[in-house]
Symmetry: C2
Amino acid sequence: MKIVVIGGVAAGTSAAARAKRVNPEAEIIIFERDSDISYSGCGLPYYISDIVEGREDIIIYTPKRFEDKKGAEVRSEHLVEDILLDNKEVVVKDLKTDEVKNIRYDKLLIATGASAFLPPIKGSELEGIFPLRNVHNADTINKFISDKKPKSAAIVGGGYIGLEMAESLLDRGIEVSVVEMAEQILTNLDDDMAEIVHDHLKDKGVEVIVGDGAAEFEGDTMVEKVITQSGCKLKANMVILAIGVKPNVELAEKAGIEIGKTGAIKVNEKMETSVENIYAAGDCVESKSMITGNQVWIPLGSTANKQGRVAGSNLAGGNDRFKGILGTAITKVCDLAVGRTGLTQREAENEGYKVISSVVKAGNHAGYYPNYKKINIKLTVEKDSGQILGGQIIGEDGVDKRIDVLATAIHNKMKAHELIDLDLAYAPPFSVPKDGVMVAGIVADKKRNK
Amino acid sequence: MKIVVIGGVAAGTSAAARAKRVNPEAEIIIFERDSDISYSGCGLPYYISDIVEGREDIIIYTPKRFEDKKGAEVRSEHLVEDILLDNKEVVVKDLKTDEVKNIRYDKLLIATGASAFLPPIKGSELEGIFPLRNVHNADTINKFISDKKPKSAAIVGGGYIGLEMAESLLDRGIEVSVVEMAEQILTNLDDDMAEIVHDHLKDKGVEVIVGDGAAEFEGDTMVEKVITQSGCKLKANMVILAIGVKPNVELAEKAGIEIGKTGAIKVNEKMETSVENIYAAGDCVESKSMITGNQVWIPLGSTANKQGRVAGSNLAGGNDRFKGILGTAITKVCDLAVGRTGLTQREAENEGYKVISSVVKAGNHAGYYPNYKKINIKLTVEKDSGQILGGQIIGEDGVDKRIDVLATAIHNKMKAHELIDLDLAYAPPFSVPKDGVMVAGIVADKKRNK
């Protein structure tokens, strides 16, 4: 059996490794257009901030090591240009030699990922303007910072990558401004929660502009200024474009594979596309929301990894299922951890739920124990049933724990008033006897019954 | 309505505060034999280690402040000597004046807690030998350390309090030995997990002796040595007795209230005892294991708090239920966090389950992110059904999170293979794409199906 995998980052390598374990006889080949495979996209901001020492630290496997360890063949710098369904072949171009070959497959995985969305802004050709999607982008940014020593940077886009880059550039001693078109940064949080992060960035000296987009980049050969749509001029010796990402579906689309309403490739629980023997996984596919049952596109490394594992099993003849996602995510923004799971209040209302939310402040651990911090918890609950729909938590410590508890609770369709029944671990260095998630549950339940 | 509460620490004060909120008209009076109420028993080791600055830090409310804030009357240094069921009265002695009075109640809560178990060891009358159960004990220990500057200490008992005290005394520059009668320290962990803590204590310079008990304390007026049952002689300028605790049930027993098989007061889900209008909560009662359905006695501050809340509601006419416990607990031992939830493998086998366990090492977060630590995870699963019965986790960081995720999973009767379906929060500073609890689930499931 011959398995071809298109794309060698999170989903592709997970799938290849898993398929080889399930069926050691299978011949597996990964094509990746980049020279790097198996790197941590989520680690790129930390590579730029110097928190991560070398580029090799965020590359989990080189092609050579992956081949040795996992037994799948890796051809990096190979671009798959076409999928020929009738022949069960992919058309692959070696980007070093421009040689094109047709390669047969029995089973195919599309793991083409997502790309930075690059809007057509005037002046985009100036030097010093960068997206951040792969290790090469990060290398280029690092080299630019070392060579040009920029004093100021503008980040276009106030989502996760934008804000992680704000922190990274602050760490490098650069003055940072963030421009976000929406009325708030972190649009996947409710506005009251996003405001906490907004204020924190301002406290750290970041200029945060919301409700305004980048209209033009000005400069001679190097970028010097960002002109916003409202006419603001921001000094910027460099610009990071972090407006968003889009799924890489062109190859699948051209082959006639069904694309979902979200714009990403449609797959079933087995990660099968609309075409037999062709699977897809990772940032290029949509996923089922375990709450609403609807298809959503929320590209994240953790999801890509798990989907790759499921696809890998099934490619090799297994019968694994990917159950869906809750939209759980976390990011670090300077001193704050910012987590969410399930639906925000706004998302829930947009889905037609009648909801109430509780907002509480709670301790990360006992007040008398060192490094005591307050955590902000927002719990969103269906009004009639009390079922927990989502949680948002922001604070300096203990956020990841409580988001994971809520994610596990939502997975199990727990109701707000049941959180107090959880037997969570208490000792002064770790928690308080009645944890904040419990209090949030009690408050939400009370509000619901008012 | 008049509510009398016997005991003013965790369960008693929680209940009184809750009852007053549910029924602001109720007259509530707390009798506490100690002069302190509402202190954090779990915080005492940190008060001794100087991590917590003053005694007032671990006292959440003084009697006066509790009265002002919560509206319940507090009579500290009042010992309840008898419960007269027929008259619905308690016999209370004012310990400052020796005056004895009968006080009527409509509803009564017994929250008498637990006491240190003090074995009859020869030489126990020597100076420098202390239990640790209340703030006075801690004050006495603190004064002793300041005045006498002991060079060495022996801790009799290798449970949570014993090991927390080992850390506290090390922090004060004292050489520490721990003597544990059982064949391992931390008998509520499996031996393979307890060994990790044992080795860590040894690395920190603590002499740990297992399978041996204290037979005699030697010294002139002050303790100087502990002689063990096997004849070992340990230098000890002070001794902490941390052999265990026993529930304070004498008062309830004398009144004819039913005591359970565990030796603690028997209550139902509403925290009612066998006698109408009399409730009990906290360290003096037994609880239902949510796994086995059996009654167990695992006295912990988090449980006392929640039971107090339920009892308080019901005392005031509400209809709350305490659903039971999983035996979740956590402690900090020097650099290690040591957590458990559900049943250990040994406990599960003793309960008659046929089980398998997976033991995995996992990262607290991305390997390239600073402060990377390995975590040891042991997951115990029912062989036939795959249902998760328990988890034990030990490591320097991220233990509390994963124990709470497992506690939430066990609460919801999840199976090992379902852990991978959880949508937990991933970003490099907080986790890895496929978290250790998921890996433990996968490994356990594989082992189960072998």
